[in-house]
Point group: C2
Chain length 200, copies 2
Amino acid sequence: MAKDTKERILEEALEMFSQKGYAGTNIRELTAALGLVKSSMYKHFDSKEAIWDALLDQMIAYYGQRFGSAENLPPVPDSLEGLVRMTMGMVDFTVHDEKIVMTRKLLAIEQFRDERARALAGKHFLTGLTQMFTPIFAAMMDRGLIRRDDPEMLALAYTAPISSLIHQCDREPGQAEEVMKRVEAFSRHFVKVYGEEGAS
Amino acid sequence: MAKDTKERILEEALEMFSQKGYAGTNIRELTAALGLVKSSMYKHFDSKEAIWDALLDQMIAYYGQRFGSAENLPPVPDSLEGLVRMTMGMVDFTVHDEKIVMTRKLLAIEQFRDERARALAGKHFLTGLTQMFTPIFAAMMDRGLIRRDDPEMLALAYTAPISSLIHQCDREPGQAEEVMKRVEAFSRHFVKVYGEEGAS
DNA sequence: TATTATAGTGAACGAAAGGTCACTTGTCAA
DNA sequence: TTGACAAGTGACCTTTCGTTCACTATAATA
């Protein structure tokens, strides 16, 4: 039950930090939300900053195992419609998974204060997405599904608008459904523009 | 000299809030950076939150007069190369103007805590950009410069990647030149893909 | 010149922050 | 049964925070 509490502290910290920021969160509130008093926290972490460090470690590790290794990459779609479907699946997940939403918010808030948060934010919001889709578009070009062009440029052109819409959804969770429709509309627009003539 | 100090407080607040956030900034530091002691601040603002409110008022007013009115919109480019040049001019400005950079950072940090910051962030990062470029692309379609399509979709496809690159530049100011090159490369890619055949 | 308003100062205050510590409780191994 | 240890508690500490206030200096006004 000890480790459980440590994990619960990290979960609550993610929630509060992603709402009010690290500096705007205090340990009294955080522990009270778990039914504890503040001094109990120090049985599990040395300091408030130790929570932050552990949280960031966790986020970095999760990102690495989820998006960093090649085997976890999504399979290359075998059709343009497959690209749309794969995209919608990923966006649906990333928009509705609470932990990932909170992670994005937290990174947005703390990226200018903490060096590691800055680096992870860069991956989450831009470079990781393009690195993920560059080989996908390269493969789709090889298979004649997409007009031949610089795959990295296509990855930027494809992922950045979707990323922007996801951010919009983080800001206004009530618009989730409408944003999802806009993502799908954009994805279909993209395959219309970049898809090779006659590709399924 | 009184109003001058009030203005200097707002400038310093923008700088500190955009680095450490509202909650992470204290009045001692803020006033000390101006050569004052903390109690002097209260001659100009009722409270710390009053600084925040005034700063947000200022940012909202600036955005409104800069991007809100129709007469301040950039002229419709008369060529594809003109679109690239106009874009580079705007991006060069928005990336190097310190106040605007700090405004973006501040909105990124505080967007989940303050309702007005959230709304302004939505405009800055997505809706304002698409609203700005939608009529531009519509006009360029009318003039036969760009393939006819949904202008709002094109505005999203064009502005979102550029916005993402600008954010990257906010995170890593040292990469400004490289990011500018990527913006130009993307802009040229865009006009290649969407430009009407034979348009200058 | 006398008066008044303004900007700035330094001391002080209460609240809230992060953190420490002696102590209690419960669990499990020896 | 006993000893050891991990988890949780409440009292307390120090520091820092935002804020107030009596006071001074200065400059404009009457």
